[in-house]
């Protein structure tokens, strides 16, 4: 076996895993805290990519400004969807959340379609350079994805563990009634959670876009995989989303290389079936509520 090719697959796996983990983190936060299976999360991913594309292409912004702008705009879209749709379904059966989320997904996709059309778009790589690690080539954009994802995960961890606002989010996830009874406002927590999930999805998309294509349906496969990841990791579990994201990222990278590129997208689902038949509760079952 060729060692440098092997290392290459590890780096690819880390890159993919980082993107998946960021998307899955937002999804698992919203599910764990608000019990909403947010299918429209993939549309947020897509919206983030298009927003950055617009900032760079039409406003001439640089990549970093576009990244921050996309995070802010997408967070706002996520908050709007919470305010206008999900908060109104709080006392309805869970199925209504699911249907609303799918409706939102179709709606946001249609808006992107109306503005930018169905064509695939490219975002010019802002950092076309490469670096060399252990005899293999690592494009700077991929290093950025990995570094950015790790940085955001640490930031999220510190936010949840060390700040009072973070504690209110965790409290709401662990016991909603208990949280209300100490005076934590569910509306405030919902807004913050949706904002975080939108921003994470946008950052993942903007980091990923230069090595991928942008299209109105770009979020669909990603969101399906993100659901696989949070089911694997345990619905609502933050470490589970990160580990699950990495597992799927590595499986795809190694699967594409050693098995077949054509089967790459099936691997996630095959793994889901395999792991759940051995561990139906997921890798990190969330504490019982």
């Amino acid at each position: 076996m060729n060692l440098s090719l092997f290392v290459q697959q590890i780096l690819n796996g880390l890159t993919l895993g980082s993107v998946y983990a960021l998307v899955a983190l937002g999804l698992t936060l919203v599910y764990g805290i608000l019990h909403i299976p947010n299918f429209s999360h993939g549309a947020l991913f897509m919206a983030g990519a298009y927003t950055a594309f617009f900032f760079i292409g039409s406003l001439g912004a640089n990549y970093w400004v576009a990244l921050i702008g996309a995070a802010a705009v997408t967070a706002a879209i996520a908050v709007l969807s919470e305010r206008l749709v999900f908060s109104r379904l709080r006392d309805s059966p869970p199925l209504h959340d699911m249907i609303a989320a799918i409706g939102l997904l179709l709606f946001i996709e249609a808006v992107a379609h109306a503005i930018w059309g169905a064509d695939f778009r490219r975002m010019a790589p802002p950092f076309p350079g490469i670096m060399r690690i252990a005899g293999t080539v690592l494009p700077i954009q991929r290093a950025l994805i990995i570094g950015g994802a790790i940085g955001l995960m640490i930031a999220l961890h510190l936010f949840l563990k060390r700040t009072t606002t973070g504690a209110t989010i965790v409290a709401m996830a662990q016991n909603r009634e208990g949280a209300s009874l100490v005076g934590i406002d569910l509306t405030r927590v919902s807004i913050i959670t949706f904002a975080i999930s939108g921003a994470l999805a946008a950052v993942a998309a903007v980091l990923f876009a230069p090595i991928n294509l942008i299209s109105p349906s770009m979020g669909n496969l990603v969101i399906l995989k993100a659901f696989v990841i949070i089911i694997l990791g345990g619905m609502g579990s933050v470490p589970g989303a990160i580990l699950g994201g990495m597992i799927i990222g590595f499986a795809e990278s190694f699967g594409a290389f050693y098995i077949s590129t054509d089967l790459k997208d099936i691997i996630a689902f095959a793994l889901l079936v395999a792991i759940l038949s051995l561990r139906p509760q997921g890798l990190f079952p969330a504490p019982s509520r």
């Binding site: 009072t164 504690a167 409290a171 662990q174 208990g178 209300s180 009874l181 100490v182 005076g183 934590i184």
Partner: protein
Amino acid sequence: MLRCEGATLDYGSYRALSGVTMHVDKGELVVMLGANGAGKSSLFLAISGLRKLKAGSIRLGDHELAGRKPSQIVADGLVHCPEGRKLFPGMSVHKNLMLGAYVHRRDPEGSKAILERVFEMFPILREKQHQNAGSLSGGQQQMVAIGRALMGRPKVLLLDEPSLGLAPLVVKQVLAAVKAINEAGTTVLLAEQNAYAALKIAHRAYVIENGRIVMEGDPDALLGDERIRKAYIGA
């Protein structure tokens, strides 16, 4: 201090409270007796804003509570220590207690002083403060729940069956703590299954049946009442 008038609550087509009128005066310790399903928890949840009343009013001082959010009601000075504790099981005891002081987060010094008093009341919690609340015994968890409620600096404290499922010795300890909290100046409304022990520490009591207040009186009168003894004390 706390006054419910004609409080009516429905769960779908089921009427859990029908026109409950009751009050707790400042400094009082009032006990709410009632069999399983009588409506005690429903009344408490309505008072603390977790369930919306169909009709009637709930006043704290001269402040209408019905229609306010739970978070506002806590800030108003009414704290509800719920049945089943509702702790944050994956967080440390210390963090559970500090979240109890969430509405007073701008005054960390004041909260530290109250935390100290909670630890004096329940010394075991000081020892276990870095353990996850979910890993404590039932009695210890109940102490965390009471401590967490105290951290909210209640003027009026609602305690819903704080002794549920605890060993007799621990029940005694918990009820002694409730009495001490009341003597330190907090107005208390207590729902209890241990009618005898509860009446022993109470100033006044109500009996609720099928969502209606059916009796009110001072503890001695209730303890002497044949029906009450039969229904709630079993002697």
